[in-house]
Amino acid sequence: MKKNKSSTFFLLMVPVLLWLVLLIVIPHLDMFFRSFRFENDEGLMVFSLNNYLSFFEDKIYWLTFVKTALYSIGVTILAFIVTFPVAFFLTKVVAKKYSSFMVLLLLIPIWIGELVTIYGWMILLSDNGVINNFLMQIGLIDSPIVMLYTNFSMTIGLLYMSMLFMIIPMMSALESLDDSLIEAASDLGASKWTIFRQIIIPYTTPGIASGGIIVFMLVIGDYVAPNILGGKSSLWFTEQIYNKFLATFNWNEGAAFGFLLLLLSSGIIWLALKLTGQKLEKVGS
C-alpha cells in the first residue's frame, strides 16, 4: 500500500491528512507557540519562559498537579478492580445471549451524558440525599455524613463516568482467552488465585493497559465531575486551566498549563507501559 502512489491512495489520504493537520497539528502548534508568549512591562509580546515558570513558583499549582496525577492513577486502579469481576462474569460465566443485553444496560449512562449522571449522584450523595436518608431511617446514623463536595464524591463521579471504558477492552481480551487455558492450568494443579495471577492477568494485560490508558486520560482531563461533585475543595488541574482561560483571560499561561498536563499524562502512561512491559502498538490494536 505504501508503494502504491495511485490517485486513489491520495484521495483516501486527504480526509486523514485534513483531520490530522487541521484538527490536531495546527491547534497544538498554535497553543505551543502561545505558551511561550508573554506580555512584558512595556505591553509588548515577547518570547519567554515566564508562563511555565509561574507554574513552578506558585505552590498551589504544584499541589493541584500532583493531586490530579495521584487521583487519576488511583481512579484507574479502582476502575480495574471494580470492572474486572464484571468483565469476567459477562464473558466467562453468563451465557452469550444474556451478556450482550447486560452490556447494553451497562452502556446506558453513556447515552444519558456525564452531566446528568453527575446530577444523579448529587441526589444520592447530598446531606439530605437518598443514602443519608436511608441510613438515618434504619437508625445506623443520627446525623448525615458529609459525602458531597468531598474527594470521595469526586472519586465516585470520576469512576462512574470512566469505568465503562475499562470494561469494553477488558471484555474483548477476556473473550479471546480460551477456556481450555484455565482448565489446563487447573489440571496442572494451579489454585484459583494462581490461575488469576499467572494466566488470566498476563493474558489480558494488553486489554487492561488499553482500558487503563483510556480511563486515565478521561479522568485526568475531566472537568465536570471534579467541578460539580468535588466542590470548592476539589483542586483539579483542568480547573486551573479553565480559570486561566476564562477567569483571568491569560490564554498564554493557560496554554502553558495545558501543555504541562499533556506532558504529565503522556509521561505517566509511558512509565506505566514500561513498568508492565507493554508496547504501545500492541495495546493500541
Binding site: D178, S180, L181, A184, A185, S186, D187, L188, G189, I199
Partner: protein
C-alpha cells in the same frame, strides 16, 4: 494387573440430554487405551469426567482404587492434553513445562532437573527459551505432552491431540506417541474419532456410540469380530447390505439378491463384507467360499487403497472391492465381468 482406573455405571446428563449412558469399564495400569467414536458420542464428556471438569450425574469413578467424588481437577493424579493443546502463550517452552511442578512447590533445582529430563525425552533440547507460538505443530504437541507427563500422572488423558496436524505429521506422531507410552509406561487414555489412530496405537479400544460402549476389545478383534453392526460399519471400511430375509442358509438382500451364508442362528437384517475380504477370481478348490458374479462399474485408483466399484449382477447391489496393485489386475477394465469370492466367516450378519 492392577486397574488404574475403574468406571462404574457412570452417567452424565445435560438437562434432558444423556451424554454418557451408564458406562462401566476399567483400564489396566500401563496400557494404551483408546475411546473411539464420532462427534457427539460422549467421549469428550467421559474424558472430562475422568479429569474432573465434569461431575458424573450417577455412578462412581475410581483412580488407583480411590473414589474421585468431590476431588477437583487440580488434586487428581490425572493430566490432560487438550485438543487445542492449550499451551500458555505468554510463557516459553521451559516455563510451560515447569508450570505444574512449580505448583507443587518443589525446590528450584529439582524443577530444573525434571524439566530438562522431560524435554530431552520428547526431543526438545535447545528449545527451552523458545516462545511456544514459534514452534511447529509437532513441537507444540510435544510441549503439551511434556507439560503433563513431567508431573508423573497415574493417567495421561489425550483429547484428539493429533486432530489439527497435517496427515504426514499425524502418521509420524502416532508412532512417536506409541513409542513414548511404551518407554515411560504411563497409562494413556486416548480419545479420537480417527479409527486408524485408535487401531495403530492402542492395546484396547472402546467404540462409543450415543453415550454407550458398543464394544471394548483389542484393535484386531474390533476389526475381525465386530460385536455390533455399528462397530462393523465404523471400524474399517465395509460394504453394508440390508437383508430382508433368511432361509436355509440363503440371505435375501433388499434388492432381491441371493447370497449363501450358512450357520446363522439369528434373523439377520444387515450384512457386512469388507472390501479387502474379497478374493478376485477364486480357484475352484477353495471351500466355504461364496462366489458372486460382479460387473465392474468403475476402477478407483488410490495407490495401495485402490478399489473396484462393482455391482452384483443378479441384484444390482453396489459393492466396493479391494483392488490389489499387481500385473494381473492391470488388465481389468470398466464394464468387465468377474467373479469374486468371500469366506462365509467374513460375511458378518447382525440382527437389529
Amino acid at each position: 494387573m492392577d486397574h488404574v482406573l475403574e468406571i462404574k455405571n457412570v452417567t452424565k446428563k445435560f438437562g434432558d440430554f444423556t451424554a454418557v449412558d451408564s458406562v462401566s469399564f476399567s483400564v489396566e495400569d500401563g496400557g494404551f487405551f483408546s475411546i473411539l467414536g464420532g462427534s457427539g458420542c460422549g467421549k469428550t464428556t467421559l474424558l472430562r469426567m475422568i479429569a474432573g471438569f465434569e461431575i458424573a450425574t450417577e455412578g462412581e469413578l475410581l483412580i488407583r482404587g480411590e473414589s474421585m467424588s468431590g476431588i477437583p481437577p487440580e488434586q487428581r493424579a490425572v493430566n490432560i492434553v487438550f485438543q487445542n493443546l492449550a499451551l500458555f502463550p505468554m510463557m516459553n517452552v521451559e516455563k510451560n513445562v515447569a508450570f505444574g511442578l512449580q505448583r507443587q512447590k518443589l525446590p528450584k533445582p529439582e524443577v530444573q532437573k525434571r524439566v530438562s529430563e522431560m524435554l530431552e525425552r520428547v526431543g526438545l533440547v535447545g528449545f527451552e527459551k523458545k516462545d511456544v507460538n514459534d514452534l511447529s505443530g509437532g513441537q507444540r504437541q510435544r510441549v503439551a505432552i511434556a507439560r503433563s507427563l513431567v508431573l508423573k500422572p497415574s493417567i495421561l488423558l489425550l483429547d484428539e491431540p493429533l486432530g489439527a496436524l497435517d496427515r504426514k505429521l499425524r502418521e509420524h506422531m502416532k508412532i512417536e506417541l506409541k513409542v513414548l507410552q511404551k518407554e515411560i509406561g504411563t497409562t494413556f487414555i486416548y480419545i479420537t474419532h480417527d479409527q486408524s489412530e485408535a487401531l495403530v496405537m492402542s492395546d484396547k479400544v472402546a467404540v462409543m456410540n450415543q453415550g454407550r460402549f458398543e464394544q471394548l476389545d483389542t484393535p484386531k478383534n474390533l476389526y475381525r469380530h465386530p460385536a455390533t453392526s455399528f462397530v462393523a460399519g465404523f471400524v474399517g471400511d465395509n460394504n453394508e447390505l440390508d437383508i430382508t430375509g433368511y432361509a436355509d442358509g440363503q440371505l435375501i438382500t433388499a434388492n432381491g439378491g441371493k447370497l449363501f451364508r450358512p450357520g446363522l442362528d439369528i434373523k439377520p437384517s444387515k450384512l457386512y463384507m469388507r472390501p479387502e475380504a474379497f478374493v478376485l477370481n477364486p480357484s475352484a478348490d477353495l471351500s466355504n467360499i461364496e462366489k458372486i458374479d460382479m460387473q465392474i462399474k468403475a476402477l478407483l485408483f488410490d495407490g495401495a487403497n485402490s478399489k473396484i466399484s462393482a455391482v452384483m449382477k443378479q441384484s444390482g447391489d453396489d459393492v466396493l472391492i479391494s483392488l490389489p496393485q499387481n500385473a494381473e489386475s492391470e488388465s481389468l477394465r470398466e464394464g468387465d465381468e468377474l467373479i469374486v469370492g468371500i469366506h462365509h466367516d467374513d460375511m458378518k450378519c447382525y440382527q437389529e
